[in-house]
């Protein structure tokens, strides 16, 4: 199907874009278009006004300071993957990002768009929740910062108001000796994740864990953060990793046309252990 007709604006400045976005209802932001355009074609979305933000300078900049990153929302997913500074500062961004779509969709698809559309399988959502990223949101009314951990409210739903634009993502610096791991399963190579696990682990000089994060996708309505505090003080040995299974009891992932919720629950345990195991190995190697 073809999208319904709309009025098209391609402003040159952020202020202009926010002004155009101010009415909220019926107005949509077009960034990479990899989510919006299919939804418009399915007529699941019928915006009357589309604001193409691709011509606004400065929205696609990635800056690093003292290990902390500021990632412009319009940064293409592939540009993030190609950014060695970002990958060194936060290896999880690359570990997760390489699973996001295909090269041709990553060339267009943006970091901000992925977060704002909040697809349940969006790898970057898991990464930003694990990394405790802060999302900068602007509107003609003002500016606010939303933690990634309270940004998502359901599948394809976020706290963003219709007149708001996600402008950048701030990722705090990683502690020294922090490693990352990411695993997912999908029906076909690089297809949408059926289940995914993102993990970071920080160790001390002796290789003992001082902090760990685990976030799962597609096991709950939003990226699901699992409290893995029990890993602190361990070396990520088999017993410590096996104990993760107990933390996932009670999750009730949904069935869908591809897989059952039961399958997701089982696979989640395996992926969580693999992601954490990789993060431990990586942390020890990354002195």
């Amino acid at each position: 199907m073809k999208p319904a007709p709309f009025a098209y604006h391609a402003p040159d400045t952020l202020d202009e874009a926010l002004e155009l976005l101010a009415p909220g209802d019926g107005v949509r932001v077009l960034a990479g278009g990899q989510s919006l355009v299919p939804m418009m074609k399915a007529r699941a979305l019928r915006p009357t006004v589309v604001i193409d933000v691709n011509r606004i300078p400065g929205l696609a900049v990635v800056e690093e300071e003292g290990g902390a990153l500021r990632i412009g929302a319009l940064t293409r997913q592939q540009a993030l993957l190609d950014n060695d500074v970002a990958g060194r500062a936060q290896p999880l961004l690359h570990a997760a990002g390489r699973f996001a779509g295909y090269l041709a969709t990553r060339h267009r698809g943006t970091v901000g768009g992925s977060l704002a559309f909040a697809a349940p399988w969006a790898e970057l959502s898991a990464a930003m929740v694990a990394l405790d990223a802060q999302l900068e949101v602007r509107s003609a009314r003002g500016e606010r910062t939303v933690p990634a951990r309270s940004f998502f409210t359901g599948p394809n739903e976020t706290v963003l108001e219709p007149d708001e634009l996600l402008t950048s993502v701030h990722v705090p610096a990683a502690a020294p000796r922090t490693g990352a791991g990411f695993h997912e399963v999908s029906a076909r190579y690089r297809d949408f994740a059926q289940v995914a696990a993102a993990a970071t682990v920080t160790v001390d000089d002796a290789g003992v864990c001082t902090a760990a994060e685990l976030v799962l996708l597609c096991v709950a309505p939003v990226p699901h953060r699992v409290d893995v505090a029990h890993l602190v003080g361990t070396t990520g040995d088999a017993a410590a990793l096996d104990a993760v299974a107990g933390l996932l009891v009670g999750l009730e992932p949904l069935d869908d046309i591809e897989v059952s919720g039961t399958y997701r629950s089982r696979v989640a345990v395996t992926l969580a252990k693999r992601a954490l195991g990789d993060a431990f190995d990586h942390a020890r190697g990354a002195a």
């Binding site: 073809k2 007709p5 709309f6 098209y8 041709a104 267009r108 690089r190």
Partner: protein, 159 residues
């Protein structure tokens, strides 16, 4: 409300003008307005990759871009891969020689995807890298093996 707009794009080295509704996809613009029907459209939803074209040298799904967004940009479609005299380019010839196509529907996108890949990996890389590169383009005929072999065969020369 959806007034038509002028779009000016460079396609395969030549500039074209068009007058389009903003909702006109780039794939429809190429096929129906510019008559460049080498760009194939299947799912029209971003899943199959058959509509891939090169936008300033990078593969993109032309069904997920509006033509107005390509204003001022440079595109390469499969028609641009042939030699100036119309004979097959090296990569196209490699697909021909190695049975890299059956029905041919996915072939334009495969060729452009392979073209981008070989720019990054002129020596052809590994089979796994080739498979990763073409994973975003669905082929319903070949089982991909001959496509991988075609790309490998084309490696090393000016693709």
């Amino acid at each position: 409300m959806s007034d038509k707009r002028v779009v000016r794009v460079e396609v395969n080295g030549a500039w074209h003008d068009g007058l389009v509704e903003p909702r006109r996809t780039l794939s429809d613009f190429l096929r129906d307005d510019l008559d460049l029907t080498g760009t194939h459209v299947a799912c029209e939803n971003g899943f199959c990759g058959n509509c891939n074209v090169l936008l300033d040298g990078e593969t993109v799904r032309s069904c997920l871009m509006f033509a107005v967004q390509a204003d001022g940009r440079s595109l390469t479609t499969v028609e641009g891969l042939a030699e100036p005299d119309g004979t097959l380019g090296r990569l196209q010839q490699a697909f021909h020689d190695n049975h890299g196509l059956q029905c041919g529907f996915c072939t334009p996108a495969m060729l452009l995807t392979a073209h981008e890949y070989l720019e990054a990996y002129p020596d052809g890389g590994t089979d796994e890298q080739i498979r990763e590169a073409i994973s975003g383009v669905i082929c319903r005929c070949t089982g991909y093996q001959h496509i991988v072999e075609s790309i490998r065969a084309a490696a090393g020369g000016a693709a």
